[in-house]
């Protein structure tokens, strides 16, 4: 097992190198002068020359890549163009917001997705099955940026139940320790803030969970159907176990194995979808930050953000693979 994990980590290295190459090439093969791209059209010739020197643009491209990689190794993602902040520090500040949102969305999508999948599978070809699977397909086809606006219109503007944007209402005090607001509210025993944070979280999290929920529901259903056809399920029923017991104890455990992989992959997909959700709900996470950077053409932020998210994505996928091997004894990990 350890050898397997170690080998998977070794494969990570070329992939991450590849990611760095792509990110590097994006800036350097884009038509135009990267220095001008970074400093804007109105930069003075002196500043441009300084920037070229700083980026090593006068060196051959492979030397430039070497320098880029060396800086990366030291954890140096450069400075943002507009605010002159360390990119890495900005990422660290915004990352908890994105994780809080994604984890909440993942939780919602798993909970409802798995329940829908189980009920659909056990009542195959019933009206409930057809309705929930058509609903799941609609969920997969959902433009979430539109759904977000529809939610806003209904639940914030018309009914006034939920706050429209942000993580915390103005006037609610919360001492931040970890920047995970839920955790911070719990740690400081601040009940009022906790309620406010959760209220702000509902709409963005439900929006972000739509597509993964639909995918998890479809996956759970087909995995359950596969398992329910197997002989050992009949045996368990024949032994006199109740239907509920068989479904939850015997069938679900095996059916969940492929579902876990799907869920893991969805977590990565959510990091991408977070750009849309965070932008609409003004959620101060990495996604909105990247979007703002795209709008302001802050290429250092884009570069750093992409590197960070892609690395995270690759690492999560690796963890899912390892987890899959751990929970599925049928896979030999030679």
């Amino acid at each position: 097992m350890l050898a397997y994990i170690a080998r998977r980590f070794l494969i990570l290295i070329p992939t991450l190198l590849g990611v760095s190459v792509i990110v590097f090439l994006l800036l350097h093969l884009t038509p135009g002068d990267p220095a001008e791209l970074l400093l804007g059209e109105r930069a003075t010739p002196d500043a441009l020359e300084q920037m070229r020197e700083h980026l090593g643009l006068n060196e051959p491209i492979h030397v430039q890549y070497g320098m880029f990689l060396k800086r990366l190794m030291k954890g140096d993602l450069g400075e943002t163009i507009w605010t002159r902040q360390k990119v890495w520090i900005e990422v660290k500040q915004r990352f908890p917001a994105t994780i809080e949102l994604s984890v909440a969305a993942l939780f919602i999508s798993c909970f409802f997705g798995i329940i829908l999948g189980i009920v659909s599978a056990t009542k195959q070809y019933s009206i409930f099955d057809y309705a929930s699977m058509l609903g799941a397909l609609a969920g997969v086809s959902m433009p979430i940026f539109w759904l977000a606006l529809v939610f806003m219109l209904i639940f914030s503007l018309n009914l006034g139940w939920l706050p429209m944007s942000g993580r915390l209402s103005v006037g609610v005090e919360l001492k931040t320790i970890t920047n995970f607001y839920i955790l911070d509210a719990v740690l400081t025993g601040n009940g009022k803030a906790l309620k406010d944070v959760l209220w702000h979280l509902i709409m963005p999290a439900v929006t972000l969970s739509t597509i993964p929920m639909a995918i998890v529901a479809r996956m759970t259903r087909s995995a359950m159907l596969d398992v329910l056809r197997q002989d050992y399920i009949k045996t368990a029923r024949a032994k006199g176990l109740s239907r509920v017991q068989v479904i939850f104890k015997h069938a679900l455990r095996n059916a969940l194995i492929p579902v876990v992989t799907t869920i893991g992959l969805q977590f990565g997909v959510m990091l991408g979808g977070a750009i849309l959700t965070e932008t609409i709900f003004a959620w101060p996470g990495v996604g909105k930050w990247m979007y703002d950077a795209v709008m302001q053409r802050d290429y250092m932020v884009i570069q750093g953000g992409v590197l960070f998210i892609a690395t995270l994505f690759v690492v999560i996928n690796l963890c899912v693979d390892v987890l899959y091997a751990v929970i599925n004894p049928r896979i030999s990990v030679r």
């Binding site: 070329p14 992939t15 991450l16 590849g18 990611v19 190459v21 792509i22 994006l26 800036l27 884009t30 058509l134 397909l137 609609a138 997969v140 086809s141 959902m142 433009p143 940026f145 539109w146 759904l147 606006l149 529809v150 806003m152 219109l153 503007l157 479809r218 996956m219 087909s222 990565g268 997909v269 990091l271 991408g272 979808g273 750009i275 849309l276 932008t279 990247m290 979007y291 795209v294 709008m295 053409r297 290429y299 884009i302 992409v306 998210i309 892609a310 994505f313 690759v314």
Partner: protein, 299 residues
């Protein structure tokens, strides 16, 4: 001479296996529903200049924010109402179908061509070149969906062409992987060895012998990719990275309507419904095709 004998012995009811499988599609009600939805959208896109009641980019000061016809103040002149510049929403949605379908066809076409080519080379020649191509595909897959497209457009500059290219590039690995897998499998079969024995060159073997046998999964992937291309293009345009005004694009229409959300919710509602329906149509058909053509791909 031989062909003549073969032909006379051929059962006239015998059809190509692909056609045989496709005929199963008719029995799948949801797939037919998908096909109907797509057909409606394609017909609307093709006949847009004739069926649109108004010019989609013509503004009218007098008709700003007219509600849809079933509303108290709605009129039959603007069935779905008008936007903040007095442009007819129905016409914009019909022309929007044009934009979305063109984007989907071009971006998926790009991914299909590149992916199939790379997959064939990878699967047929194996070895080092296979390793290199597949590692590059892994690198593209190392970026979460949409993020890579957003970044590519961010660098190239926002426009519909660049959005198509960005979406196309991000979809290449799906096609390359599927084709590579099928080619690897087919390469072991007798007919390939036979083709090689009679002296056919590599190009002929790949494109005339092997590729037709990999069509099933390719058709499925193409249909499902069309669905996500429509969705991704709308998302990029919503973020301001795709279609630019005054192009009638569904995602861009939703983005512009954000500020009107309370005053005129219909301006936002209908383009969203159009996106949802078009994507759902392709997904329904893709699911049906998968069941009919490629049982292995079922999730």
């Amino acid at each position: 001479m031989t062909t003549a004998t073969v032909n006379t012995h051929r059962d006239p009811r015998d059809r190509h296996p692909l056609l045989e499988q496709l005929s199963q599609l008719w029995r799948n009600k949801t797939a037919v529903l998908g096909l109907v939805i797509i057909t409606i959208f394609i017909s609307a896109a093709l006949s847009a200049p004739w069926i649109s009641p108004h010019n989609p980019i013509e503004t009218s000061l007098y008709d700003q924010l007219k509600p849809p016809v079933w509303h108290d103040k709605g009129t039959w002149a603007h069935i779905l109402g008008t936007d903040e510049l007095g442009r007819d929403l129905l016409s914009r949605i019909i022309y929007g179908a044009r934009v979305s379908l063109i984007v989907a066809v071009i971006s998926v076409g790009l991914a299909f061509t590149l992916g199939t080519l790379l997959g064939c080379i990878s699967g047929y020649y194996k070895g080092l070149i296979d390793g290199i191509i597949m590692r590059v595909m892994d690198m593209i897959l190392a970026f979460p969906y949409l993020l890579l497209a957003i970044v590519v457009v961010a660098y190239l500059g926002p426009s519909l062409q660049n959005a198509m290219m960005a979406i196309g590039i991000t979809y290449v690995p799906r096609f390359a992987r599927i084709v590579r897998g099928s080619v690897l499998e087919e390469c072991e079969k007798d007919y390939v060895i036979a083709a090689r024995a009679v002296g056919a060159n590599d190009g002929r073997i790949i494109f005339l012998s092997i590729l037709p046998n990999c069509l099933g999964p390719l058709i499925v992937q193409t249909t499902l990719s069309m669905a996500s291309a429509v969705l991704d293009a709308a998302a990029l345009s919503f973020l301001g990275l795709g279609a630019q005004p005054p192009t009638p694009e569904w995602g861009a229409m939703i983005a512009r309507s954000r500020s009107l959300i309370l005053r005129a919710s219909w301006v936002m509602t209908f383009p969203g419904v159009a996106i949802l329906l078009a994507v759902l149509g392709f997904n329904l058909l893709g699911d049906g095709l998968r069941d009919a053509l490629d049982p292995r791909l079922r999730d």
